[in-house]
Symmetry: C2
Subunit: 385 residues, 2 copies
Amino acid sequence: MREVAIIGVGQTKVGEHWETSLRHLALQASQAAVADAGAKRVDALYVGNMLSGELTGQEHLGALVADFAGLRGVEAIKIEAASAAGAAALRMGYIAVASGLLDTVVVIGVEKMTDAATSETTAALAMAADADYEASQGLSLIAINALLMRRYMHEYGYSRQDFAPFPVNAHRNAANNPYAIFRFPVKAERFGTATPICDPISLLDSAPICDGAAAVVLAPADAVRGLSAAPVRIRASAVGTDTVALHDRTDPLVLDGAVLSARRAYQQAGVGPDSIDLFELHDEFGILAALSLEAAGFADNGQGVRLALDGEIGAGGRIPISTMGGLKARGHPAGATGVYQVVEVVQQLRGLAGANQVGGARIGMAQSIGGSGATVITHILERAE
Amino acid sequence: MREVAIIGVGQTKVGEHWETSLRHLALQASQAAVADAGAKRVDALYVGNMLSGELTGQEHLGALVADFAGLRGVEAIKIEAASAAGAAALRMGYIAVASGLLDTVVVIGVEKMTDAATSETTAALAMAADADYEASQGLSLIAINALLMRRYMHEYGYSRQDFAPFPVNAHRNAANNPYAIFRFPVKAERFGTATPICDPISLLDSAPICDGAAAVVLAPADAVRGLSAAPVRIRASAVGTDTVALHDRTDPLVLDGAVLSARRAYQQAGVGPDSIDLFELHDEFGILAALSLEAAGFADNGQGVRLALDGEIGAGGRIPISTMGGLKARGHPAGATGVYQVVEVVQQLRGLAGANQVGGARIGMAQSIGGSGATVITHILERAE
């Protein structure tokens, strides 16, 4: 098994790209990553995407994107794991390069969500939930998370306002990220009066529907040692799963899939939470950010929100999260998000995160969640010395 | 890189399973394969599927199937490459075991197509075509293949009737396969008067819309050497791609993706067409069977139909195809088909194909096509001595 490095990254601005097609978004991210890597040759292309069939009538993205990106003929496959699709594609690319079978793999996450009506997009996103037992009863993904948040507030005695630090931190960081959809700060005071979407989740506590694509280029770490551009090693790549339906979970307030995923990743990398300098987590809603912090060992159960209230999730805190805006403010183009997170960790480890730079960042973690926690994929990256 | 063996196979009967859900189909195939393998532990589950989002409102099949199959917590991801999804999932499972990262991987192909109206299914299948340039113009997948067939007939001087040997061979073999949807022979004389579906493709020349699931269990070849049940080695696993839209192809009558895919597979295995004892190809329509035979080197361009007319595709012929009924008569549950093909090759190599046994079969090839040839995935299997 070979060590794997990320030798190039690329991303499009997250936004409402009504005049840019799915394949164009993928092309832009891919071209940027391949140029960044200086790659002369590509052996395979793995595309992470969740909703292209439902929202744009297009399956078969592997071959489609490969051809459009100038890679006609190469191995190309689409990977899906609901909103963790991008991270799942990276997992597959990682394995392929680690195996020795392929030398240069481009991983793209792409999603185009704004061409459909919001109701259609909401229905499509609910396909991450259990179609037979949840979605068919009218439970959308945001409704499931609202139930989780309500239970968490009840169980641990928090108010809705206590979740404000998550979007405040995310928006503050997005303001400095040219690729983010929301480049403006928000005030905690506005949180209490924000438009409700699915009580207790409000507009200020929910990631937006949006479009975007991000890409990374993978190569064997040995082959790139000594090159001038700083490569980043993938120290761990781990998937954990759980029941799709919330009612089947042992404890709905513990993301077992995230516990498994993080534990496996720490074991592979031979590190613990204390060694992680920044954590790009799946802050689609504040409640998911809190539960992720707990599952990954940064807070005890019920203390994820407390960690945020104590100011420990910003730059200089115990564990900086959403350092480029997170899902909340960089944006969450579903199947692309897992790759955006990794691109941002690479930016941090390269020391190129600008005003949002986490000082001395050496090890970063990215974690992507499918649905309400049924698939959780964790990658730990380290700056090559 | 480790050698990989298939140590267990399982399948459900292909049919119209109105009373069996998607997850139940997957469960049945998975249980059968795991029991056949005698596997005590599973490290990951890769699910090949094309249409679950569009037709049953369910994405996120990896985690869903893992939980339902009693594998909650394990790595689980869905793979899609249009109708080659099952083969793509096998490709990913193969790489994962070859890499040394995972020891036991279950690969499931599953599709449920009959719960929707035929018009919905036809529209969903067209998502394998180019949404912007083909499907949006009304070109369904069968219409694309009808254009190909018409051009082939014009170019090489064949009649519609000349394609009869493909379904005749497929149905003859399906009659002996308890897992096939159409267990009856058809006569070549009926071919000329069969109900047209999309001229020149008729009912007798088109694979059916149906449901089914198939599964294989993969393990390192070294670990299973000497076990009593005959393992089958994966000697090659290769993906080739081409443009999704037909109009972009160099020559529409040459499946460049299949040429690449077969060439790469032969190279990996160190064999040529002459060493292949049977070929499970993607005979969704007779024209695709003919073009596949040509692309894989069993016939010159324009001679695929001639090969069939000469009786060379049946048992005892130069290259037996569709030995258990093929897509035409075993059935074609889209994303499951690539795994069915491999299960059948394993049956042949184990000498367990009953009345359809290809005498002395040692090396078999399975090739799955996504759409009209944009993704082509080839696996070469060999009986372990």
